[in-house]
């Protein structure tokens, strides 16, 4: 009875609020004073892990309490937070004294309180992967990917703590040495966080030293050729590495490679020069070679050009969209690029008003997203060929009314709201974060979308009255599920990475993976890229037979191997007989190296050093490709570009990159080689010809080194003999100058050749 009344009173207090102080300022006569206790009174709590405290109030009918947390006097940092239920959440970083005080106070009797001392500990680190996943015996550098890393964390390799650099809570880098006894084994790796509360990850992550399958899985030829497709060209160390990982292993490893950053736009000059320079530094030295290739390919499909988006603040977030999504899902990419501010400016989606007065919604983004970025103008078969109507004509994927309807979908979006400002119909220009919807400026009429047999749940029209965000999500789904998307994007990615003229079968095999990655997921770009690179059509040509040592491994003055030595009868015979082995290597395969890719490929092959403030973009611009600045939304070249009949023996020969390769541009490309080999790369980039000059007095060895570095060891013998004759005539004697002159002549001729410039 008594108990019941108390409860009712308590309930009234809570409901009335005020009554708390009124009714319980003094204890009820005859009862003991209010006391509060906290359990436990001391706790060790790891960052990243919440901890539950409990409180008990005695001597008062009102048991409600308030929770607070603070640092001991004089300490600095954040104490963390505690909620109304006593759940304590530690701060992101340790405060100065590693201690926080959690206090609970009776609401009814504020003088009654209790405190607990929290000793804060570093979190348990979690290790998810390392990059690379395998190393060879000797010195190595590893990147550890995971979570909950703190400053002072160390990477443990086979029980040995390595000198480690803290990069972020999700990344460490460390250097170490693998010893011979570890060769061809898996070595366990872990991360240890330091005191307070030192803790080691328990994830089963290993690094393979050498190869578990004995010696190299693939030939150096195959590895080098692959690295022209999956990277910015081969270099000696990566060839050996890929021989150990195999192609599939290399791709897997690349999926978690640390992303090479662009400069933070906040603190750099307002022109694009440093962003463009970073492209070359990243291409030459970055570990995320495949991610960079895929991101660049996507950025040349979904174009917002630096010609107009000409400040780092605008362009860097745009480039980051592709970095983030290179191995992600295409649907996410569609969303992120649609709401990217630079794209919004470039194709007029930001501040696109709903129809008002004499003006209608802007059609620009609506048209180009479909025409260029996703599905194209004509209905395709899954193999990328045109679907034709009964009269043999192409079938349009949409009409003008569809474009106008999608234009309405994209109304109502504006710049992100600056911190401290209020969202408005037309926010002022601001580039941090995605565009934001101002729904009062969104066209809420019904909209007709692409008409096709859409899967369940995917709309082909939008009802009236929806928000900008909902219209956008459903409209992008409508495009994403259009059957054209898979062949349209797959074929272009093949063209960027492998060959200008893929067979319909090749496109079909990749598109099949785009439709479904094998786990029911559509648009999984990591699996699409894997399918592209491992397809038999991409791999045809890997089995050239002669490959030897990369640059630097040939002893100075040595003659290379007998098979390639002109002094022996075996000169290039196996090359000559079967440069492509038994593979079905198409005569229209390969593709012209994009001008801006020529430079890093050469620099990688020569082991050049490039820093972040290089001037290489001036060379690329003179090749016709100002980095990140295509002349229009149609990019640098069209995927369907065909080489003029006059240059292709009258045949119909596709070659997108050839749109840039005019006769005068071809001369310009040769002249850039002259600059690179005989001139200077400008500040911030240096080619060191010492290794080749050391071979300069032995022209056959020189040729062998160049063959291995740039031709996968497959340079045809008659090409080799043509170059060799010029090399022999380049200088007399054995002075250093003569040796260098021979090395330069050999490089100039080899690298300006069509056989090199057409990657195949």
């Amino acid at each position: 009875m008594n108990l019941r009344i108390r409860r009712i009173q308590g309930g009234l207090v809570c409901a009335l609020g005020l009554a708390g102080t009124l009714g319980f300022q003094a204890p009820v006569l005859g009862q003991t004073a209010t006391t509060v206790t906290i359990t436990p009174t001391a706790a060790g709590v790891r960052l990243g892990t919440a901890f539950q405290f409990t409180a008990r109030v005695t001597g008062n009918t009102n048991t409600t309490v308030a929770w607070t947390v603070a640092l001991p006097a004089g300490d600095t940092g954040s104490p963390g937070t505690v909620n109304t239920g006593g759940l304590y959440t530690p701060p992101a970083a340790l405060p100065s004294g590693n201690t926080a005080i959690v206090t609970v106070t009776s609401l009814a009797a504020p003088t009654a309180s209790a405190s607990a001392t929290v000793t804060l500990l570093n979190p348990y680190p979690a290790l998810s992967s390392t990059f690379p996943g395998s190393v060879t015996v000797g010195a190595f550098t590893l990147t550890a990917n995971g979570s909950n890393f703190v400053n002072g964390a160390q990477l443990i390799f086979g029980g040995v703590a390595l000198p480690t650099t803290f990069v972020s809570a999700t990344r460490l880098t460390a250097t170490g040495t693998a010893v011979q006894s570890q060769n061809n084994t898996r070595v366990a790796v872990a991360v240890t966080n330091p005191a307070p509360g030192p803790a080691t990850s328990t994830d089963a992550v290993t690094v393979t030293v050498g190869s578990l399958d004995g010696p190299a899985k693939i030939t150096a030829t195959a590895a080098a050729r692959f690295l022209d497709q999956a990277a910015f060209g081969p270099d000696a160390a990566t060839i050996v590495h890929v021989q150990g990982t195999g192609l599939d292993g290399y791709i897997t490893e690349q999926l978690s490679a640390p992303v090479s950053p662009y400069p933070d736009p906040v603190n750099i000059p307002v022109n694009l020069a440093l962003v463009q320079a970073r492209f070359f530094a990243n291409a030459v030295h970055g570990q995320d070679q495949l991610g960079q290739r895929v991101a660049l390919a996507l950025s040349e499909i979904m174009v917002a050009s630096g010609v107009e988006e000409n400040t780092p603040a605008q362009l860097v977030p745009y480039l980051q969209v592709f970095q983030k999504n290179a191995f992600g899902n295409f649907r996410t990419l569609m969303n992120d690029i649609t709401l990217n501010v630079a794209m919004g400016e470039y194709l007029d989606m930001r501040n696109n008003d709903k129809a008002a007065g004499t003006a209608l919604a802007n059609e620009n983004y609506a048209r180009e997203l479909m025409q260029l970025f996703t599905i194209g103008l004509s209905v395709l078969n899954p193999d990328g060929t045109l679907k034709l109507d009964a009269a043999g004509n192409a079938i349009p994927t949409y009409d003008q009314a569809t474009v106008q309807s999608f234009a309405k979908v994209y109304t109502g979006w504006t710049y992100p709201t600056k911190p401290g400002a209020t969202l408005a119909k037309h926010n002022p220009a601001y580039y941090v974060g995605p565009m934001e919807a101002f729904d009062a400026n969104h066209d809420t009429t019904a909209k007709t979308l692409l008409q096709y047999a859409a899967p369940a749940g995917v709309l082909t029209s939008l009802p009236a009255g929806q928000t900008a965000a909902k219209d956008l999500a459903q409209a992008l789904d409508n495009i994403f599920y259009h059957p054209n998307l898979a062949p349209f994007i797959s074929k272009q990615l093949i063209q960027h990475l492998v060959t200008s003229n893929p067979s319909p079968g090749y496109v079909n095999r990749v598109a099949t993976v785009f439709y479904d990655n094998g786990s029911g997921v559509r648009g999984d770009l990591a699996m699409v890229v894997r399918a592209i690179l491992l397809d038999p059509e991409a791999r045809a040509g890997d089995n050239g037979t002669a490959f030897n040592l990369p640059i630097g491994n040939v002893p100075p003055g040595g003659t290379g191997d007998a098979a390639n030595d002109p002094g022996t009868v075996a000169i290039g015979t196996h090359l000559h007989q079967a440069p492509r082995g038994g593979a079905k290597f198409s005569t229209v395969a390969g593709h012209l190296r994009e001008p801006m890719f020529v430079i890093p490929a050469i620099l990688r092959g020569l082991g050049a050093q490039v820093n972040d403030t290089n001037a290489l973009n001036s060379l690329s611009t003179s090749l016709g490709q100002n980095v990140f600045s295509p002349p229009s939304v149609f990019s640098y070249f069209a995927p369907g570009y065909q080489i003029p009949a006059d240059f292709s023996a009258g045949a119909t020969l596709g070659g997108p990159e050839y749109q840039l390769q005019s006769p005068s541009a071809a001369v310009g490309r040769i002249n850039v080689l002259n600059t690179m080999i005989y001139g200077s790369l400008g500040n911030g980039a240096l080619i060191d010809l010492t290794a080749l000059t050391n071979l300069g007095n032995s022209p056959p060895a020189l040729m062998l080194a160049i063959n291995n570095a740039f031709f996968y060891g497959l340079m045809p013998p008659n090409m080799r003999s043509d170059i060799l004759s010029a090399v022999n005539a380049a200088a007399t004697g054995t002075t250093a100058a003569a040796a260098k002159a021979r090395a330069q002549a050999a490089l100039y001729l080899a690298l300006s050749s069509s056989y090199y410039n057409v990657e195949h």
Binding site: N351, A589, A645, F647, A649, P663, S664, A666, I670, S754
Partner: protein, 459 residues
């Protein structure tokens, strides 16, 4: 025969690169002698295309002010529909027509208006566009006649203006096919077409391809001299350009490289002996391109050419927003550069022999588009300029559309003009003046036969 001719060209062209034997260059510099049996003209003629990339807004290029020939049009009607995109009437450069109409040219087309009014050597051709065949509004809306492929798409409409193949894909341009038909009359081995815009489809023929140049100095192969090592290296370079490795893409690269070396050699030889021009050109993209064209015309005899076609270009006309500002910038450049070029042709004594004409992807919607700053969207027919002393100028050719949304000339509801003069007709007038053999006209403009009305008689 052909090989012999080609070899002669090469000998001439490569004399300065002494290391190269004529036979060592294998680029397909196929100058097919299509006119070998025909008498070649002895005079000189050149066509110069100025392509405005992005789709120049014809509605603000040529504004109806007082048009008795079509009372539906008027400045006030234009101003009402265009709203904030309308140009003030007082800012227009007024021009009259033989029908008694008054139009205003864009405020920044000062020079072209003067040439139109005073020199009578500028013609305006109204509502030109891509068509496969004549098309009425009913036929378009009911799809009862052939409609050009992929209307309103930049790339496709640029392509159709360049190929004169509005039904869709073609891998040669009308300039290239015109060159195929006339190439044999040039004797120096230098291509008939010169592109200032690289591998532009306009200039690709079935048997010919353009020389490509950029504004400024013509870059030849650099880093060679007459020393023995240099000669040996150049020999090897040429051997490699002749190297057949079985890869078709590499063969194409070889052919293009050979052509580039050949062209730059010929051009630099000829330019070295050219007399300097005194005409001042504006230092703009188009100004510098047309200056380069003038310099090449100036050495036409050294190049052995009697017929030339040039392709120049200017971007920035895709005015979805900021149109009032951006179109003014573009048209200023066009007007000033074309005037300077015209003056240079007079200086060279070829004012009667050179015709300059404009092209663009398409016109733009009469109805503006929303946004913080107004613009307009992709449309269809538009108005173009032809300049030269041979032009019957000071008049408007073709039919100006009725400026009414959903009106008789509108393909949609936004003021998208169905062209009343096809690109083929426009081009045929240019090609006929150029001297294309009548039998070849149909290969240059295969769709021309679909149009029964004669081409506009501005030449």
């Amino acid at each position: 025969m052909m090989n012999f001719l080609r070899r002669d060209f090469l000998k001439l062209g490569l004399r300065s690169l002494s290391a190269i034997g004529a036979a060592s260059v294998v680029g397909r510099l196929s100058q097919v002698n299509a006119l070998a049996q025909t008498a070649c003209p002895t005079d000189y003629k050149a066509l110069v295309c100025v392509f405005m990339f992005g789709g120049n807004d014809g509605n603000n290029t040529l504004v109806p002010v007082s048009t008795p020939s079509n009372p539906n049009n008027s400045y006030s009607n234009y101003a009402t529909i265009r709203g904030g995109l309308a140009l003030p009437q007082t800012s227009l450069n007024m021009i009259g027509t033989s029908k008694g109409d008054q139009f205003g040219l864009h405020p920044n087309l000062v020079e072209l208006a003067t040439l139109y009014n005073s020199n009578k050597n500028v013609a305006v051709v109204a509502n030109v566009g891509s068509l496969v065949n004549p098309l009425t509004q009913t036929q378009y809306l009911q799809k009862t006649a052939r409609i050009p492929a992929n209307l309103f798409s930049h790339l496709d409409q640029q392509t159709e203006w360049q190929t004169a193949q509005a039904q869709g894909f073609a891998n040669t341009g009308w300039g290239g096919r015109l060159a195929d038909a006339m190439q044999g009359c040039n004797t120096g081995g230098f291509p008939l077409i010169v592109s200032l815009n690289g591998n532009v489809l306009f200039a690709a023929g079935a048997q010919s391809s353009p020389a490509t140049v950029t504004a400024g100095a013509v870059a030849g192969l650099q880093g060679f001299n007459t020393t023995a090592p240099s000669v040996a290296r150049l020999t090897a370079l040429n051997n490699l350009l002749g190297f057949d490795n079985g890869l078709e893409l590499a063969q194409a690269s070889n052919a293009i490289g050979s052509a580039g070396i050949h062209q730059s050699t010929l051009l630099n030889q000829a330019l070295a002996s050219g007399k300097a021009l005194t005409t001042a050109f504006p230092n703009t993209s188009l100004g510098n391109q047309l200056l380069q064209v003038a310099k090449i015309i100036n050495v036409r005899s050294g190049l052995g050419v009697t017929r030339q076609i040039f392709f120049t270009f200017l971007g920035g006309f895709d005015t979805h927003d900021k149109e009032l500002n951006d179109q003014a910038t573009g048209l200023t450049q066009v007007s000033q550069a074309m005037q300077a070029f015209y003056t240079a042709t007079q200086e060279m004594g070829v004012g009667q022999n050179v015709v300059t004409f404009t092209e663009s992807d398409f016109g733009r919607t009469l109805q503006p588009s929303g946004g913080a700053t107004l613009g307009s969207d992709h449309a269809w027919g538009s108005h173009h300029f032809v300049l030269g002393d041979a032009v019957k100028g000071g008049d408007l050719y073709g039919t100006f559309p009725t400026q009414k949304l959903s009106g008789p000339d509108d393909a949609t509801t936004r003021g998208v003009w169905i062209p009343t003069t096809s690109l083929d007709q426009y081009g045929a007038t240019l090609a006929n003046w150029f001297g294309v053999p009548p039998a070849k006209l149909a290969t240059v403009f295969p769709n021309l036969a679909n149009f029964k009305t004669p081409p506009p008689a501005f030449l």
